[in-house]
Subunit: 349 residues, 2 copies
């Protein structure tokens, strides 16, 4: 059973294997150019002794750090924690460490986090979560990132297409279209939208999808209530109350993420409005609890864990000159929270 021992240095391994420090380093950092015999001996000894390189020394000397800095909007939101799960899985496979920081959806704070990460010399930066509609913020982030890249740093983003770097992108617009089409096919016309944090591109994109589906059916988003709040359960509650108050004729609510949908459902329950008989509700993301809600939530499934995995994998690829994009599939998952529009308002042509 190898014990980490107080201070086990590469020099110890080298000595015990009867080779020089340089050779031992070459073997263990996989640089090659060492005879199979010596290499084998070094690996053997290293393993016996349970040697693990000191990452601080390694980074200081070599330049690239084995840590990935992951910025998410909110750690304890399932959408992000599932993404984080995917990132952590891949990191574990590759022997990387994951540092998580969160931005609370505040663009300036996020920028500070980013600068901090860069100053800390992490090797890889991953940013999960929507971009902001604010050009200043995006421009500054872009500047920081390209400086970071030119120093050899690797970058990928998830769900953000505004930074000019490798990105894993769900097709938010197509998803918005799909979920809206679903409601329209069920006969709903009085549709309201519970829209998330204003100023996020995710909101804009998903709304664009909703709008596009509506147009195909000869309707316009401008005629429907779109209520903005936070991308959280509380945000969902607020919007639902407002929709119920101002637009009692509504028969379906599109929540632009699942967290909001959960809030919407809780308000409907409090008002004893039967779902889906009197009101349909759809979400977006398919966080894992969505299937276990009552009623279970109709939503657009995004493969969050895979997205996390893809992002890190992408960042690990040899850098290319042009930013790469990987788009993820999405699936409309029809469950119990959506049903045919009630007669009253639906039967009108």
């Amino acid at each position: 059973m190898p014990k980490p021992g107080p201070r086990l240095r590469l020099a110890d391994v080298a000595e015990r294997a009867g080779v020089s420090l340089a050779t031992a380093s070459r073997v263990l950092s996989g640089r090659g150019g060492v005879s199979e015999e010596l290499a084998g001996r070094v690996r053997q000894v290293s393993h016996e002794l349970g040697y693990v390189a000191n990452p601080y020394a390694r980074t200081l000397a070599g330049g690239t750090s084995p840590t990935v800095g992951l910025i998410v909007h909110q750690v304890d939101d399932p959408y992000f924690s599932e993404i984080a799960g995917g990132v952590i899985e891949v990191a574990a496979e590759k022997g990387l460490l994951v540092q998580i920081s969160h931005s609370g959806r505040d663009p300036d704070y996020e920028l500070r986090q980013l600068r901090h990460l860069i100053a800390q010399r992490v090797g890889i930066i991953l940013i999960a979560g929507s971009g902001y509609d604010d050009p200043r913020v995006e421009a500054e982030a872009r500047t920081e990132l390209s400086a970071f890249q030119s120093l050899g740093g690797r970058v990928a983003v998830i769900g953000r297409h505004t930074l000019g770097v490798d990105a894993v992108l769900p097709d938010n617009e197509a998803g918005g279209r799909a979920v809206t089409a679903h409601l329209l096919e069920l006969g709903h016309r009085r549709i309201a939208v519970a829209a998330g944090t204003p100023g996020l591109t995710t909101v804009t994109d998903r709304l664009a999808g909703v709008s596009s589906a509506l147009r195909q059916h000869g309707l316009s988003l401008d005629d429907l209530p779109v209520v903005h709040s936070d991308f959280t359960r509380d945000g969902g509650r607020v919007t639902a109350e407002q929709i119920l108050g101002d637009h009692p004729e509504t028969t379906a609510i599109i929540a632009l993420n699942d967290a909001m949908a959960i809030g919407v459902l809780s308000v409907l329950r409090a008002h004893r409005i039967p779902v889906p008989e009197r009101m349909s509700v759809v979400g977006f993301d398919d966080v894992s609890v969505a299937a276990d809600l009552a009623p279970s939530l109709t939503t657009i499934r995004l493969p969050m864990t895979d997205m996390g995995r893809m992002a890190l994998t992408l960042a690990l690829r040899p850098p290319s000159t042009r930013p790469r994009r990987r788009s993820t599939g999405h699936t409309l998952v029809v469950r119990d929270s959506s049903g045919p529009a009630p007669r009253l308002s639906a039967s009108r042509p």
Copy 2:
């Protein structure tokens, strides 16, 4: 706007401030012993240039690393992601970085993670999640940790009392007692337990509370069905199916955490068993979605975010010879998933 610049070294700051490297270091690392005049100048220059110390060099030279390694059982379980949220908050306040790794509730893998973290020379280790009933695992973990501590590392654990280090502990037994007493007062006697991953002390402790409450009412846990599975939603489903199949007379199910309770509820819904009219369900933890389930979940509230905060705060205190313990409060939160026992079985004395 200070830019991190390609390679800004402490030496640059020192030179520009007209002091030696040593002095600049003393100022910026807050070691003192520098005249106010020089110190001011150094700080001034450092700030102007936007200097940020290279943490790798700092750690290599100084010994203590500004990162906290957080091991959780499962990142994308809300119980743990809320704890992580608390840890990250405090870390951000103190300028520390948080590295998250997860163990998947596998004791051996967890041990590997722990060794890895130590080898990586993190400064602070936090372990969240139950201990294991396996003495070998606990003993090995204890050995690693005390070696780590004797090298100056800081440690705290959350919800684990078996490691002989500073700990933040919810009173699992009292919680189990409270939730059971609640059901007993509602007249339930045919109670079943959906118990989590076997071999976890959390399971043992919560069960002990259940048992104790039962005894006070002249009942014994031995006469009731206790079905073990995973501490997950799927685990909850499995146990619920089994309970329904083998013990149809059951009127209340105690799930030993909320994830399982969610699974139990979904099975009951599938079987069209009305909750709480025909069956009461209670959980444990009060994850944030618990209030939004249908029916909303009666459960024991644990302040997860605070627990994360407390743990890091505790670890940051000057080390003491005897391990410190902070116990957290717990509250029975009565919601809609629990109600009076149905007449049929409850009226029997």
